[in-house]
Amino acid sequence: MKPRNKRLAFVLLALVSVGAASALISKAMKGNLAYLHSPEEVLNGVVPKGQVFRLGGLVKEGSLERSDSKLEARFIVRDNRDNEITVVTDKILPDLFKEGKSQVSRGKMADDGLFYADEVLAKHDAEYMPQELKDTLEKEHTPQAASSTKGGTY
Protein backbone atom coordinates (compact mmCIF):
# COMPACT_ATOMS: atom_id res chain seq x y z
CA MET A 1 0.00 0.00 0.00
CA LYS A 2 1.26 3.43 -0.88
CA PRO A 3 1.76 5.76 2.09
CA ARG A 4 -0.94 8.06 0.75
CA ASN A 5 -3.49 5.23 0.62
CA LYS A 6 -2.49 4.20 4.09
CA ARG A 7 -3.17 7.70 5.38
CA LEU A 8 -6.47 7.78 3.48
CA ALA A 9 -7.51 4.50 5.10
CA PHE A 10 -6.55 5.89 8.50
CA VAL A 11 -8.61 9.03 7.98
CA LEU A 12 -11.64 7.09 6.73
CA LEU A 13 -11.41 4.72 9.68
CA ALA A 14 -11.18 7.70 12.03
CA LEU A 15 -14.22 9.32 10.40
CA VAL A 16 -16.23 6.12 10.78
CA SER A 17 -15.30 5.82 14.47
CA VAL A 18 -16.15 9.46 15.12
CA GLY A 19 -19.51 8.95 13.38
CA ALA A 20 -20.19 5.89 15.50
CA ALA A 21 -19.22 7.75 18.67
CA SER A 22 -21.52 10.59 17.72
CA ALA A 23 -24.45 8.24 17.06
CA LEU A 24 -23.89 6.42 20.35
CA ILE A 25 -23.70 9.67 22.33
CA SER A 26 -26.89 10.97 20.70
CA LYS A 27 -28.64 7.72 21.50
CA ALA A 28 -27.43 7.78 25.11
CA MET A 29 -28.53 11.39 25.49
CA LYS A 30 -32.04 10.53 24.38
CA GLY A 31 -32.35 7.76 26.94
CA ASN A 32 -30.51 9.00 30.00
CA LEU A 33 -30.44 12.73 29.90
CA ALA A 34 -32.18 13.86 33.05
CA TYR A 35 -32.48 17.47 31.96
CA LEU A 36 -36.02 17.60 33.26
CA HIS A 37 -38.60 15.32 34.82
CA SER A 38 -42.23 15.06 33.86
CA PRO A 39 -45.04 15.21 36.45
CA GLU A 40 -45.61 11.50 35.90
CA GLU A 41 -42.02 10.65 36.86
CA VAL A 42 -42.20 12.88 39.91
CA LEU A 43 -45.48 11.37 41.12
CA ASN A 44 -44.02 7.89 40.60
CA GLY A 45 -41.19 8.79 42.93
CA VAL A 46 -38.35 8.85 40.39
CA VAL A 47 -36.92 12.00 42.01
CA PRO A 48 -35.90 11.80 45.69
CA LYS A 49 -37.61 14.27 48.05
CA GLY A 50 -35.66 17.43 48.78
CA GLN A 51 -33.53 17.19 45.63
CA VAL A 52 -33.40 20.16 43.25
CA PHE A 53 -34.54 19.23 39.75
CA ARG A 54 -36.31 20.68 36.71
CA LEU A 55 -39.98 20.02 36.24
CA GLY A 56 -41.22 20.18 32.67
CA GLY A 57 -44.74 20.18 31.34
CA LEU A 58 -47.68 22.21 30.13
CA VAL A 59 -49.25 24.93 32.22
CA LYS A 60 -52.85 23.79 32.78
CA GLU A 61 -55.46 26.12 31.28
CA GLY A 62 -57.08 28.34 33.91
CA SER A 63 -54.74 27.24 36.68
CA LEU A 64 -52.57 30.36 37.01
CA GLU A 65 -53.31 32.34 40.18
CA ARG A 66 -51.39 35.42 41.25
CA SER A 67 -51.32 36.60 44.82
CA ASP A 68 -52.79 40.08 45.45
CA SER A 69 -50.40 41.04 48.23
CA LYS A 70 -47.01 39.61 47.21
CA LEU A 71 -45.10 38.47 44.16
CA GLU A 72 -46.30 34.90 44.32
CA ALA A 73 -47.86 32.79 41.61
CA ARG A 74 -49.29 29.30 41.58
CA PHE A 75 -50.02 27.18 38.57
CA ILE A 76 -50.56 23.53 37.73
CA VAL A 77 -48.12 21.67 35.48
CA ARG A 78 -49.53 18.67 33.67
CA ASP A 79 -48.30 16.12 31.16
CA ASN A 80 -50.09 14.30 28.35
CA ARG A 81 -51.34 11.61 30.73
CA ASP A 82 -53.06 14.08 33.08
CA ASN A 83 -50.58 13.87 35.94
CA GLU A 84 -50.60 17.20 37.73
CA ILE A 85 -48.27 19.04 40.09
CA THR A 86 -48.87 22.47 41.60
CA VAL A 87 -45.96 24.88 41.32
CA VAL A 88 -45.45 27.81 43.66
CA THR A 89 -42.99 30.56 42.78
CA ASP A 90 -42.12 34.10 43.83
CA LYS A 91 -40.03 34.84 40.73
CA ILE A 92 -40.99 36.93 37.72
CA LEU A 93 -42.62 34.81 35.02
CA PRO A 94 -41.07 35.23 31.55
CA ASP A 95 -42.76 36.88 28.60
CA LEU A 96 -43.63 33.64 26.84
CA PHE A 97 -45.12 32.06 29.95
CA LYS A 98 -48.76 31.33 29.17
CA GLU A 99 -51.46 28.91 30.14
CA GLY A 100 -51.54 25.95 27.77
CA LYS A 101 -47.86 26.42 26.85
CA SER A 102 -44.80 24.49 27.96
CA GLN A 103 -42.62 25.57 30.84
CA VAL A 104 -39.56 24.35 32.73
CA SER A 105 -39.20 25.26 36.39
CA ARG A 106 -36.34 24.49 38.75
CA GLY A 107 -36.91 23.79 42.39
CA LYS A 108 -37.86 20.99 44.76
CA MET A 109 -40.87 19.14 46.07
CA ALA A 110 -41.87 19.99 49.63
CA ASP A 111 -43.63 17.74 52.12
CA ASP A 112 -46.92 19.50 51.41
CA GLY A 113 -46.86 18.07 47.86
CA LEU A 114 -46.20 21.45 46.24
CA PHE A 115 -43.26 22.18 43.96
CA TYR A 116 -41.42 25.32 45.09
CA ALA A 117 -39.61 26.82 42.09
CA ASP A 118 -36.81 29.35 42.26
CA GLU A 119 -36.68 29.69 38.49
CA VAL A 120 -39.47 29.43 35.95
CA LEU A 121 -38.58 29.33 32.25
CA ALA A 122 -40.99 29.40 29.34
CA LYS A 123 -40.42 26.89 26.59
CA HIS A 124 -40.93 27.86 23.03
CA ASP A 125 -41.70 25.65 20.06
CA ALA A 126 -40.30 26.10 16.56
CA GLU A 127 -43.26 28.14 15.41
CA TYR A 128 -42.55 31.47 13.71
CA MET A 129 -45.87 32.66 12.33
CA PRO A 130 -47.91 35.83 12.53
CA GLN A 131 -51.17 35.40 14.45
CA GLU A 132 -53.45 36.00 11.42
CA LEU A 133 -51.71 33.33 9.36
CA LYS A 134 -51.90 30.91 12.26
CA ASP A 135 -55.65 31.52 12.61
CA THR A 136 -56.23 30.88 8.91
CA LEU A 137 -54.18 27.70 9.00
CA GLU A 138 -56.05 26.46 12.03
CA LYS A 139 -59.40 27.11 10.39
CA GLU A 140 -58.31 25.12 7.36
CA HIS A 141 -57.03 22.15 9.30
CA THR A 142 -59.29 22.05 12.31
CA PRO A 143 -59.01 18.33 13.14
CA GLN A 144 -55.21 18.37 12.86
CA ALA A 145 -54.86 21.57 14.80
CA ALA A 146 -56.96 20.18 17.62
CA SER A 147 -54.83 17.05 17.92
CA SER A 148 -51.57 18.96 17.75
CA THR A 149 -52.51 21.37 20.53
CA LYS A 150 -53.65 18.49 22.65
CA GLY A 151 -50.37 16.63 22.22
CA GLY A 152 -48.28 19.66 23.07
CA THR A 153 -44.52 19.86 23.29
CA TYR A 154 -42.36 20.33 26.30
Binding site: V18, M29, N80, D95, F97, V104, A126
Partner: protein, 247 residues
Amino acid sequence: MKINWFKYSAPMNFYPLAGKLIPLFWILAIALIALGLYWGFFKTADVLSDQKQYYRIIYVHVASAWMAMWLYAVMVAWAMVGLVFNTRLSFMMASATAITGTVMTVIALATGAIWGKTSWGTWWDWDPKLTSFLILLFVYIGYIALQSAIDDVRRSDKASALLALVGLALVPIIYYAVNCPDPNECASLHQESSLERVESNILIAMLITTLGFWMYSFATILMRVRTIILERERNTSWVSKLKEFNN
Protein backbone atom coordinates in the same frame (compact mmCIF):
# COMPACT_ATOMS: atom_id res chain seq x y z
CA MET B 1 -8.20 21.48 -23.09
CA LYS B 2 -6.91 19.77 -20.04
CA ILE B 3 -7.38 21.79 -16.86
CA ASN B 4 -4.75 21.39 -14.22
CA TRP B 5 -6.88 21.10 -11.07
CA PHE B 6 -3.88 21.02 -8.82
CA LYS B 7 -2.46 24.31 -10.02
CA TYR B 8 -4.22 26.28 -7.28
CA SER B 9 -3.25 23.86 -4.54
CA ALA B 10 0.17 25.53 -4.63
CA PRO B 11 0.25 28.54 -2.27
CA MET B 12 2.18 30.49 -4.94
CA ASN B 13 -0.76 30.26 -7.36
CA PHE B 14 -3.53 30.43 -4.78
CA TYR B 15 -2.26 33.65 -3.20
CA PRO B 16 -3.10 35.92 -6.20
CA LEU B 17 -6.35 34.04 -6.93
CA ALA B 18 -7.55 34.57 -3.34
CA GLY B 19 -6.60 38.24 -3.64
CA LYS B 20 -8.86 38.59 -6.67
CA LEU B 21 -11.77 36.70 -5.07
CA ILE B 22 -11.82 38.62 -1.75
CA PRO B 23 -13.50 41.83 -3.06
CA LEU B 24 -16.12 39.73 -4.86
CA PHE B 25 -17.04 37.88 -1.67
CA TRP B 26 -17.12 41.13 0.32
CA ILE B 27 -19.56 42.68 -2.14
CA LEU B 28 -21.77 39.59 -2.08
CA ALA B 29 -21.62 39.44 1.72
CA ILE B 30 -22.60 43.06 2.25
CA ALA B 31 -25.35 42.94 -0.38
CA LEU B 32 -26.89 39.69 0.90
CA ILE B 33 -26.70 40.60 4.59
CA ALA B 34 -28.22 44.02 3.87
CA LEU B 35 -31.00 42.49 1.78
CA GLY B 36 -31.67 39.71 4.29
CA LEU B 37 -31.82 42.08 7.25
CA TYR B 38 -33.93 44.63 5.36
CA TRP B 39 -36.38 41.90 4.43
CA GLY B 40 -36.33 40.51 7.93
CA PHE B 41 -36.94 43.86 9.59
CA PHE B 42 -39.38 45.53 7.23
CA LYS B 43 -41.13 42.82 5.23
CA THR B 44 -42.17 40.50 8.01
CA ALA B 45 -44.81 40.62 10.71
CA ASP B 46 -43.98 42.67 13.82
CA VAL B 47 -45.67 40.31 16.20
CA LEU B 48 -45.90 36.56 15.93
CA SER B 49 -48.47 34.29 17.50
CA ASP B 50 -46.47 34.22 20.72
CA GLN B 51 -43.35 36.35 20.25
CA LYS B 52 -42.94 40.07 19.88
CA GLN B 53 -40.36 42.07 17.89
CA TYR B 54 -37.45 40.40 19.63
CA TYR B 55 -37.94 37.27 17.52
CA ARG B 56 -36.06 39.11 14.76
CA ILE B 57 -32.74 38.22 16.34
CA ILE B 58 -33.16 34.79 14.70
CA TYR B 59 -31.91 36.21 11.40
CA VAL B 60 -28.50 36.64 12.97
CA HIS B 61 -28.77 33.77 15.44
CA VAL B 62 -29.74 31.00 13.02
CA ALA B 63 -27.33 32.22 10.33
CA SER B 64 -24.36 32.30 12.71
CA ALA B 65 -25.27 28.99 14.36
CA TRP B 66 -25.52 27.24 11.00
CA MET B 67 -22.23 28.76 9.86
CA ALA B 68 -20.52 27.78 13.12
CA MET B 69 -21.42 24.13 12.52
CA TRP B 70 -20.84 24.22 8.78
CA LEU B 71 -17.43 25.89 9.08
CA TYR B 72 -16.42 23.24 11.59
CA ALA B 73 -17.17 20.55 9.00
CA VAL B 74 -15.27 22.57 6.37
CA MET B 75 -12.31 22.94 8.72
CA VAL B 76 -12.21 19.18 9.36
CA ALA B 77 -12.49 18.49 5.63
CA TRP B 78 -9.45 20.69 4.91
CA ALA B 79 -7.51 19.12 7.77
CA MET B 80 -8.31 15.61 6.45
CA VAL B 81 -7.24 16.52 2.91
CA GLY B 82 -4.03 17.83 4.45
CA LEU B 83 -3.46 14.63 6.41
CA VAL B 84 -4.00 12.39 3.39
CA PHE B 85 -2.30 14.36 0.63
CA ASN B 86 0.24 16.26 2.73
CA THR B 87 -0.62 19.50 0.97
CA ARG B 88 0.51 22.67 2.69
CA LEU B 89 -2.39 24.82 1.55
CA SER B 90 -5.15 22.61 2.99
CA PHE B 91 -3.71 22.93 6.52
CA MET B 92 -3.51 26.67 6.04
CA MET B 93 -7.16 26.72 4.94
CA ALA B 94 -8.11 24.68 8.03
CA SER B 95 -6.47 27.10 10.45
CA ALA B 96 -7.91 30.13 8.63
CA THR B 97 -11.39 28.59 8.86
CA ALA B 98 -11.05 27.97 12.60
CA ILE B 99 -10.98 31.68 13.47
CA THR B 100 -14.08 32.59 11.46
CA GLY B 101 -15.83 29.52 12.90
CA THR B 102 -15.00 30.66 16.42
CA VAL B 103 -16.39 34.12 15.70
CA MET B 104 -19.63 32.58 14.37
CA THR B 105 -19.93 30.37 17.47
CA VAL B 106 -19.53 33.39 19.75
CA ILE B 107 -22.15 35.37 17.79
CA ALA B 108 -24.58 32.44 17.96
CA LEU B 109 -24.09 32.04 21.72
CA ALA B 110 -24.42 35.79 22.39
CA THR B 111 -27.54 36.32 20.27
CA GLY B 112 -29.03 33.14 21.73
CA ALA B 113 -28.45 34.47 25.25
CA ILE B 114 -30.11 37.80 24.43
CA TRP B 115 -33.10 36.04 22.90
CA GLY B 116 -33.21 33.53 25.73
CA LYS B 117 -33.33 36.20 28.43
CA THR B 118 -36.34 37.79 26.75
CA SER B 119 -38.34 34.71 25.86
CA TRP B 120 -37.31 31.86 28.14
CA GLY B 121 -36.43 34.12 31.05
CA THR B 122 -32.74 33.23 31.36
CA TRP B 123 -29.45 34.13 29.67
CA TRP B 124 -28.10 30.64 29.92
CA ASP B 125 -29.27 27.19 30.82
CA TRP B 126 -27.44 23.86 30.81
CA ASP B 127 -29.76 22.50 28.19
CA PRO B 128 -28.32 19.75 25.90
CA LYS B 129 -28.22 21.92 22.80
CA LEU B 130 -26.76 24.95 24.53
CA THR B 131 -24.19 22.86 26.38
CA SER B 132 -23.00 20.99 23.30
CA PHE B 133 -22.73 24.29 21.44
CA LEU B 134 -20.57 25.71 24.22
CA ILE B 135 -18.33 22.65 23.93
CA LEU B 136 -18.04 23.40 20.19
CA LEU B 137 -16.63 26.81 21.13
CA PHE B 138 -14.11 25.15 23.44
CA VAL B 139 -13.07 22.70 20.71
CA TYR B 140 -12.54 25.59 18.28
CA ILE B 141 -10.44 27.40 20.89
CA GLY B 142 -8.59 24.17 21.69
CA TYR B 143 -7.76 23.71 18.00
CA ILE B 144 -6.36 27.23 17.73
CA ALA B 145 -4.46 26.88 21.02
CA LEU B 146 -2.95 23.51 20.10
CA GLN B 147 -1.83 24.83 16.77
CA SER B 148 -0.03 27.78 18.29
CA ALA B 149 1.40 25.70 21.16
CA ILE B 150 3.64 23.57 18.89
CA ASP B 151 6.40 25.47 17.13
CA ASP B 152 7.01 22.99 14.34
CA VAL B 153 4.36 23.82 11.72
CA ARG B 154 4.07 20.34 10.24
CA ARG B 155 3.63 18.72 13.64
CA SER B 156 1.17 21.34 14.90
CA ASP B 157 -0.89 20.91 11.71
CA LYS B 158 -1.14 17.17 12.18
CA ALA B 159 -1.87 17.27 15.91
CA SER B 160 -4.58 19.88 15.57
CA ALA B 161 -6.09 18.06 12.58
CA LEU B 162 -6.63 15.02 14.81
CA LEU B 163 -8.24 17.17 17.50
CA ALA B 164 -10.53 18.72 14.90
CA LEU B 165 -11.50 15.27 13.63
CA VAL B 166 -12.45 14.02 17.09
CA GLY B 167 -14.48 17.18 17.71
CA LEU B 168 -16.51 16.50 14.57
CA ALA B 169 -18.62 14.11 16.67
CA LEU B 170 -20.18 17.22 18.24
CA VAL B 171 -21.81 18.61 15.11
CA PRO B 172 -24.46 15.88 14.66
CA ILE B 173 -25.03 15.88 18.43
CA ILE B 174 -25.77 19.61 18.41
CA TYR B 175 -28.04 19.21 15.44
CA TYR B 176 -29.93 16.12 16.54
CA ALA B 177 -29.86 16.55 20.33
CA VAL B 178 -33.34 18.02 20.40
CA ASN B 179 -34.58 16.90 17.02
CA CYS B 180 -36.17 13.61 17.82
CA PRO B 181 -39.75 12.75 16.91
CA ASP B 182 -41.04 12.54 20.47
CA PRO B 183 -40.34 15.76 22.38
CA ASN B 184 -41.06 13.99 25.65
CA GLU B 185 -38.15 11.71 25.00
CA CYS B 186 -35.35 14.18 24.41
CA ALA B 187 -36.36 16.97 26.71
CA SER B 188 -34.65 20.33 26.43
CA LEU B 189 -35.30 24.00 26.72
CA HIS B 190 -34.17 24.87 23.20
CA GLN B 191 -36.87 24.35 20.60
CA GLU B 192 -36.57 21.92 17.72
CA SER B 193 -34.66 23.07 14.67
CA SER B 194 -37.59 22.65 12.37
CA LEU B 195 -38.25 24.97 9.47
CA GLU B 196 -41.69 23.60 8.67
CA ARG B 197 -43.62 25.97 10.85
CA VAL B 198 -41.61 29.06 10.00
CA GLU B 199 -43.55 31.51 7.86
CA SER B 200 -42.10 31.70 4.34
CA ASN B 201 -41.28 35.42 4.55
CA ILE B 202 -39.27 34.90 7.73
CA LEU B 203 -37.64 31.81 6.23
CA ILE B 204 -36.54 33.69 3.10
CA ALA B 205 -34.97 36.48 5.14
CA MET B 206 -33.23 33.87 7.29
CA LEU B 207 -31.82 32.02 4.28
CA ILE B 208 -30.61 35.21 2.57
CA THR B 209 -28.84 36.31 5.76
CA THR B 210 -27.28 32.87 6.07
CA LEU B 211 -25.99 33.09 2.50
CA GLY B 212 -24.58 36.52 3.36
CA PHE B 213 -22.81 35.12 6.42
CA TRP B 214 -21.41 32.38 4.21
CA MET B 215 -19.98 34.90 1.76
CA TYR B 216 -18.56 36.86 4.69
CA SER B 217 -16.89 33.65 5.86
CA PHE B 218 -15.33 33.13 2.42
CA ALA B 219 -14.01 36.68 2.41
CA THR B 220 -12.46 36.55 5.90
CA ILE B 221 -11.07 33.03 5.44
CA LEU B 222 -9.39 33.99 2.18
CA MET B 223 -7.95 37.14 3.75
CA ARG B 224 -6.62 35.14 6.67
CA VAL B 225 -5.22 32.37 4.51
CA ARG B 226 -3.28 34.96 2.51
CA THR B 227 -1.55 36.20 5.63
CA ILE B 228 -0.86 32.61 6.72
CA ILE B 229 0.65 31.88 3.30
CA LEU B 230 2.92 34.91 3.58
CA GLU B 231 3.94 33.96 7.10
CA ARG B 232 4.77 30.34 6.30
CA GLU B 233 6.36 30.95 2.91
CA ARG B 234 8.25 34.08 3.88
CA ASN B 235 11.61 32.54 2.97
CA THR B 236 10.62 31.50 -0.55
CA SER B 237 11.66 33.38 -3.64
CA TRP B 238 8.13 33.92 -4.98
CA VAL B 239 7.15 35.86 -1.86
CA SER B 240 10.20 38.10 -2.10
CA LYS B 241 9.28 38.83 -5.73
CA LEU B 242 5.72 39.94 -4.89
CA LYS B 243 5.15 43.48 -6.02
CA GLU B 244 3.66 44.50 -2.65
CA PHE B 245 7.15 43.99 -1.14
CA ASN B 246 9.10 45.62 -3.98
CA ASN B 247 8.12 49.23 -4.08
